[in-house]
């Protein structure tokens, strides 16, 4: 198994009442509520947490980014990945990921990622995402070409990583006279690519066709099973067998010394989901052309308030269906076993805290996960044969059947 630590990097230090009054805490919620003094403290606390996660035995640190919203103050995952590349020693740096359509120059992303890979000594896993709906607006990027830009930027980055330059790129959305970055990844053929997602079937199909692991973001168990059904079907059509090495899952999981404390802190997962301040604005989060056409009716009705967020669910329901797991190590391990048995992922991210959970409680959670939960999960993983892409020597991708290795080391 590959076990990762994750936090959304919540920027909870703002006036919650202001968010409630405005009715949304995204895109247009004024950044006059962003306090850089609190920001300085929080960024550095999050760095401490990442380093602690390495210390207590996590295999990877999962990073992401969002824009114009307090639920995630990490505006550029490559910045934190760069810092961690130099300040950690062992953990994989798993970026889930860079929002490709937001980039006007994907070659620059290829360079940044190559730098991170080299500085970290080949520890980069480079995931790619489409970016949220409102982020298309925050970046001024056309939502109607989101998927086309995603696919083209991905092709360009992989080419920049795997073929020597200079070459020319004349695409539909990107045109580059000269592609010849003087920074290439240490890993060959290229760093592994994992694709996270939550809703769009198109993304699952695309990941399976690319032979990239797909990371289901906190979906409920039955929905997750459906994701793997689809993934495995496409894998078979593509000419390989799906399995645990292609399956990842991000689990909201808060652990504390007592059940009561764990449950109280776990409620903070609803902070990000907007229970306290109303996170998403239905129009901004689903601009025309961004969502999958098969969900058009649902999103159109959501946008005018006729339907609740297709992504939303109540805390009690999420506890019941295990989208949120909370407790002492002793009580969470059987729940996680159930998840592993039923959905068989080999990659697990632990989204450990959110909202107003104190730095001390976050650290306790990381310690308890590292010392008690992870060893138990490794045993269960062995028992169930859940080998990670690294353990299984899985191919780097559909066009690169060899596993990624460090340049200059034996095949």
């Amino acid at each position: 198994m590959h076990l990762m630590y994750f936090t959304e990097q919540p920027m909870s230090a703002y006036d919650a009442q202001a968010g409630l009054d405005f009715g949304a805490t995204a895109l247009m919620f004024s950044n006059k509520h962003f306090d850089p003094v609190a920001g300085t403290r929080l960024y550095n606390e999050y760095l401490d947490h990442y380093r602690l996660a390495e210390e207590v035995g996590f295999d990877g640190i999962m990073l992401n980014e969002h824009h114009n919203a307090p639920f995630c103050m990490q505006a550029k995952c490559n910045v934190f990945a760069s810092i961690l590349a130099a300040t950690t020693k062992r953990v994989k740096l798993v970026l889930l990921g860079n929002p490709l359509p937001l980039a006007d120059n994907p070659v620059r992303l290829a360079e940044e990622l190559a730098m991170i890979d080299m500085v970290s000594g080949g520890r980069l896993v480079s995931g790619f995402v489409r970016g949220g709906g409102q982020e298309q607006l925050a970046a001024g990027v056309n939502p109607a070409y989101n998927r086309e830009r995603f696919e083209e930027a991905h092709a360009l980055i992989v080419k920049a990583w795997t073929q020597t330059g200079p070459f020319r790129w004349e695409g539909n959305h990107y045109q580059h006279r000269v592609v010849n970055p003087w920074a290439v990844p240490l890993q060959t053929p290229h760093p592994r690519v994992w694709i996270p997602g939550v809703l769009s079937k198109e993304t699952i199909v695309w990941a399976a066709k690319q032979r990239y692991p797909y990371i289901a973001l906190s979906t409920e168990i039955e929905a997750t099973k459906k994701i793997w059904e689809l993934y495995d079907k496409v894998a078979q059509e593509t000419g390989y067998a799906g399995g645990p090495e292609y399956r990842g899952y991000l689990q909201r999981c808060h652990v504390a010394e007592t059940e009561e404390k764990a449950m109280a802190n776990a409620k903070q997962f609803m902070w990000m989901q907007g229970e306290f301040t109303g996170l998403a604005h239905p129009v901004w989060s689903s601009p025309s052309g961004y969502f999958s056409p098969s969900y058009r009716t649902a999103f159109v009705e959501y946008a005018v308030g006729r339907r609740s967020n297709p992504r939303g669910a109540k805390f009690e329901d999420q506890i019941r269906n295990q989208q949120i797991v909370a407790g002492t190590p002793k009580t969470v391990i059987p729940k996680l076993r159930r998840l592993l048995e039923e959905t068989r992922p080999s990659i697990m991210g632990f989204w450990a805290s959110d909202g107003f959970v104190s730095s001390e409680d976050s650290k306790t959670c990381i310690r308890l996960l590292g010392q008690e939960v992870l060893p138990a999960l490794r045993d269960i993983g062995k028992e169930l044969g859940l080998w990670s892409p690294f353990e299984a020597n899985a191919p780097t991708g559909i066009n690169f059947p060899e596993p990624a290795r460090l340049k200059g080391t034996a095949r």
Binding site: L137, N142, S288, G289
Partner: protein
């Protein structure tokens, strides 16, 4: 006694790989009506009123309503070229008046600049296409389908009559599809061209610029700029109307257009 209803002939014609849908009706001088970004309303009261004095041709823009979506299309100028192609191919431009409503006004202005004498008269109604100097063009990306359209009405009761106070979901889906097409061709810069103002000086035909006094989507200053930049233009402000003059004051607008066609 109410007048006999206009008989509209529906047709799909091929152009540039697009199945382009249009309707024709009425009798008189030929008028091409180019619809708003939200699509062509049905029934279209303005077109009905106009068809009593003119031979009206009302297409659905490529990718809007019943016309197929050209995936390759990237700009409003592309739409203008497609219409010029159609007019030339079918010899429809002679004595033609082009009436552009809102977003359709931008298309009409582009058509006029690329072929200054190809048609006879130009009418722009609350046209997009020029960057306001003081205000802003309302950004539909930040507004719900309903809020955006409501913003274009001075009188909310007029909206309710046309679309229903609780606008039905199928219409919203069509507005979403049309909005997606608008994004595909007019996302950035949003709803204006940086080059159009420099080209309007070449338009040789007489132009009537009509603006709703209470247009909260495209500020009136854009109408003033159009009227100034087009060599043979005058500005007519319609009181008590917002952006969708054709929907709020259909008879008044039809009368303005008919008079202009006869005079100019």
């Amino acid at each position: 006694m109410s007048p006999t209803p206009i008989v509209w002939q529906s047709e799909t014609v091929p152009v540039a790989g697009i199945d382009l849908h249009w309707v024709r009706g009425g009798a008189g001088a030929p008028v091409l009506v180019l619809h708003h970004d939200i699509g062509r309303p049905e029934p279209a009261a303005f077109e009905d009123a106009l068809a009593r004095h003119a031979s009206v041709l009302a297409p659905s823009h490529p990718g809007y309503d019943k016309s197929s979506r050209p995936d390759w299309m990237r700009s409003v100028r592309d739409v203008a070229v497609v219409y010029q192609w159609l007019l030339a191919e079918r010899d429809l431009a002679r004595d033609l008046t082009v009436v552009g409503l809102g977003f359709g006004g931008w298309i009409a202005a582009e058509m006029a600049t690329m072929a200054p004498r190809a048609f006879k008269r130009l009418v722009l109604v609350g046209a997009m296409g020029l960057k306001p100097e003081r205000g802003e063009i309302a950004d539909q990306a930040l507004l719900s389908y309903i809020d955006y359209v409501r913003r274009g009405f001075a009188d909310q009761a007029a909206y309710d009559r046309l679309f229903g106070a609780e606008t039905a979901t199928p219409r919203l889906e069509q507005w979403d599809l049309n909005r997606e097409m608008t994004f595909r061709i007019a996302w950035k810069p949003y709803m204006y061209s940086l080059t159009l103002p420099h080209l309007l000086g070449g338009v040789a035909v007489p132009a009537l610029v009509v603006w709703g006094r209470d247009d909260r989507i495209v500020p009136l200053e854009c109408g003033e700029r159009y009227a100034k930049a087009l060599p043979r233009a005058r500005l007519q402000v319609v009181e008590g109307a917002g952006h969708f003059v054709d929907m709020e004051k259909p008879d008044e607008l039809a009368q303005l257009v008919t008079r202009f066609v006869t005079e100019a």
